[in-house]
Symmetry: C3
């Protein structure tokens, strides 16, 4: 398999993991300083990043941009005067988007505001309440069990105010105005696979593509708060995107080492789907394919009726399919340099294939005489191995200008990326010509 | 599964079985008094029924309407002077449509005119000869074995004369001129599954539909002699039917308790097929699907080349697939209130789905905000069960105006009938609109 | 199964085997006297055969017609003065198309010019070098092992000169200008399955078709050197063929008794494919189906992009799939009268079906009344066997003018050839009419 350079990839893996370390402690939400701080970090590495601001209250399709959330501190002081829950130790301890509270209550009165997971007693769960005012604390079930009866003092020093929602957009022009969309989200607090892995792989991918001497397609990367960010972005850009996007991926949960996954777009056989599935089939045959019914991220918006963008999702282990999902256990030991590198590799290969995919046609009638060009053995004998020339002649046999490379590769049962040098050689010999992108 | 009300159905089951008891003794054939008596009974319960009369000799497509058959009595007197075969005991004893005979003959001479089933020694077989003049008697193989050598006196007091062929037609107007055709046959003498079950379920279905406050489609019920009746009816109505029938079913063998079956129309994926198969898949997953090669009833006419109506057949255990078929054992112990009720339920559900099926489109771009409408939990937590909202969001995701409800339900793996309340709620919220029937 | 007459076929089998005996000793190559001698033999049996001549050096698409090869003798004299390799004993001993040589060399110096098969020690391999000048000898590995050290004298008395490439073409006119193409090759020296079987079956098939009182289609048979002959022929005839060929087969490896095989055209569902696969499915269900990726003969040219003729390949055991392939063991004990007869039978049946295939439409609405025409039992009884009338009524049910006989036969699960008498009967009854070829 002729996929991307493995040593380059390994270097990217370490870099991404280092970036993730720096971003991990920030308390992100769908709005607020955490998002901006994260975007600032990305902009350091991707200077062309444009940071958008959408005022609270703005109507975006069926939604309204919510108020901005500021969180300064949050803790619970126990009967013995010590902080039994402390936002400073983990920003998961506060119910994300909590309203302010400063209240003394008994343990019994406090219990309805506490969230823990009996089945995962050592994990702090990640819980949010964006669209209904609530306050609460999340803690491990073990810690909850230690709470003694008595009076507690719950403090959440937060506020909601008319501010802005922010997202980053990075555009990389190519030879064509047609573009590939990469979308990832930056609204999760201290968790690693879901979600720092997506932004990290997106950042590395953007830097990698920016370095290429040429690109057929333009590339648009968006770093957005999930759901409301995607809707805000689409509300701004939908008409353009519908006319220009040829393929796109949501990148999320793409940094662990367990699995590789692909979630199909609603249309199921877009260029995005075909490229990612082809690459995964030949490089990670055991990868897991999900259909659109298993969706759970921003492809919900990109593939909604009337939006209908060709967007699938490339993942390692999908959200909800690993036990650490949405808990404090989803950390930087679960997400590794190698895990991130593997995710990046699939993205690079899929994009390499999207760039290379085209319709070719042979320029001569009947089979070309390959022998005189040194492409076919001149001795005919049963003891020769014809495997390589078989792929060459199969490629030629199906290059009729009506099937693109992915389709031909599937038909002749080889990885399309492995065909690329052969295509190049045949084009340079004048035996193939590109008739359509 | 949200199919029809089960207690109503049970009441219908008892009613249908009672009706069948009253009709059971009548000696029906493809023409004659038995047919008229049966239609009279149906008209009592369905006052709008129109009884058609087609004169003997009328050319109907490739066929001629046969003479009317009158049967007064039929018996065989044995050597000892007793009636060894007697039409008064079972009208199956006479070969249906027999010519008259009054003849003394030896047992040996009589044998070629006797029909019995060695493999089912206690059953009187049902045998007909409509289009070639014959006489004969049917009896159980056990009884036949008791016949002693000697002189027999065979008498069939019947006559064939220029009369009429009759069938009943009941039309129930709906909002649309487009109609659903229900066809069943009334030419079988004393048998129950094949055939009193079809007319009984048709009658109940007609009464049920007549009671509905509104119907999208019009409904046409025909109670006809098999084959020649269907051909006569089509000969009269074909052009209209071709322009108006959107779906249709032959109802036959629909009263036993064993199985559920569906026989596809020749076109295989008509609205009739899709509705019945969808409903059966979700309510009786073990139901048996037959393709058109297994056809055996009036769908042979409705689906003939040039006729091409979208007509399948809903059955419980199909003709030929139960041992009592076409014998005296096919009686009112085989056909039960519960068996009839089950058959009726499938018809009601299929028609409910035909009525409800339509193309809907979401009215907003991106996902609608369901939380603010109380349709989605405002707290995001792994400990919640999202199954119900999953169906809701899946429905919305596929309502693009290009797939009808049956197709969407199949795609999202739920019974379409279960989606109807959700569709209604979303329509009333202004989130869905019907774009095409 | 109503396929061709088996006793006729057996006679053809013996005749073909006798022909093959006469042609076996000739040393053929892609050009030269051996090809002409073979064509002369075929012309004796097929007087209309036209022998074409294409001068060396002629440009044919991407290729040039090579020089003519003359081989007079070839041998190697061993240290003891005896001929250890002798072309007179088997023409496989010389590397086909060898340049001339007359040289004394040590065994060690000779070794690089010797070809043998260690895994098949008793077989002389068949090796060619058409497009690069080489000389060499082929021998069994056993014989090679016997060669003693010492001086050898290698002589190949051959020459290459500007001459011609020859191929035979036989055209059999039919009622239509549309034609069926049969292609086979005549460039192999003394081997039997690959390849004398193809020309022998083609010759018998041509004689058989010539004897028919009428043919719907015209037939074009070509006897050509593989690859360069096909390309030369196409270079001459392509435009005509593209407009007229409705079906075609390459016949090769069609004389052994092991297997039956079909190799699909690139388009996969042409009339050629459908007819051959249908006939094989019903007559040799265990036949082996190869897709176009397994191609290896002149279908490579006929199906090349821009050529796109509907040509598949009918074989018994495919080239490369039997151990004797391309060795001296592929002889007239492997190819038998019965093997050839079986191959011919499939060709005849496929062509019979191509000739008969058409679109029919019933002339009446609803089912025709078959009883009055003696085509349906007038007595209706469970003890009758309806299998035959079932096929009859199934045929009628699907004769809607939109599906051809092969499609209908597949649908109703009978061999299309078995339907032909029924079709004829229904046409003569006026119940079916042909609406399209």
């Amino acid at each position: 398999m002729m996929s991307c350079d493995q040593s380059d990839i390994a270097v990217w893996g370490k870099t991404m993991h280092q970036w993730a370390h720096e971003l991990y402690p920030i308390c992100r939400s769908i709005t607020g300083a955490g998002v901006r701080e994260t975007l600032d970090f990305i902009k350091v590495h991707l200077s062309g990043l444009e940071v958008h601001s959408v005022p609270s209250g703005t109507q975006v399709f069926d939604w309204q941009v919510p108020k901005e959330w500021e969180i300064n501190d949050a803790y619970v002081i126990g009967p013995d005067g010590t902080k039994v829950i402390d936002f400073q130790r983990s920003n998961l301890h506060v119910l994300n988007y909590s309203v302010a509270i400063d209240k003394k209550l008994t343990l019994e009165e406090l219990q309805p505001y506490l969230y823990s997971l009996p089945e995962q007693p050592n994990a702090i769960p990640y819980v949010t309440s964006y669209y209904a005012p609530r306050w609460g604390f999340c803690l491990s079930h073990e810690d909850r069990a230690q709470l003694k009866p008595g009076m507690y003092h719950a403090v959440i020093d937060s506020r909601h105010f008319d501010g802005e929602l922010n997202y980053g957009e990075y555009f990389l022009p190519g030879e064509s105005e047609k573009e590939v969309l990469i979308s990832t989200y930056i609204c999760h607090p201290s968790m690693a696979n879901n979600e720092l892995s997506g932004p990290m792989v997106s950042l590395a991918l953007a830097k990698h593509l920016a370095q290429l001497p040429k690109r057929k397609y333009s590339y648009r990367f968006v770093f957005i708060p999930e759901t409301i960010g995607a809707i805000s972005f689409l509300s701004e850009r939908l008409e353009w995107l519908k006319r220009h996007v040829v393929a796109g991926y949501v990148l999320t949960c793409i940094g662990d080492e367990r699995n590789y996954s692909y979630l199909q777009s609603k249309i199921e056989n877009t260029l995005s789907d075909r490229a990612a599935m082809h690459v995964l089939k030949y490089t990670v045959p055991e990868y897991r394919l999900y259909d659109f019914l298993s969706r759970g991220s921003d492809e919900r918006q990109y593939c909604a009726p009337g939006v209908d963008l060709p967007v699938g999702s490339i993942m390692r282990t999908r959200y909800g399919d690993y036990p650490e999902y949405h808990t404090s256990l989803d950390d930087l030991s679960l997400v590794t340099p190698q895990g991130l590198a593997g995710g990046l590799r699939v993205c690079m290969d899929a994009i390499k294939l999207i760039e290379a995919n085209a319709f070719y046609k042979v320029t001569v009638l009947c089979e070309p005489q390959l022998g005189k060009r040194g492409l076919y053995p001149t001795l005919s004998s049963m003891s020769l191995d014809y495997t390589d020339v078989r792929t060459l002649t199969n490629l030629i046999a199906y290059c009729d200008g009506e099937h693109d490379l992915i389709e031909i590769a599937d038909k002749i049962k080889v990885c399309a990326l492995d065909l690329l040098p052969t295509v190049e050689k045949l084009v340079s010999e004048g035996l193939l010509e590109k008739v359509k992108e």
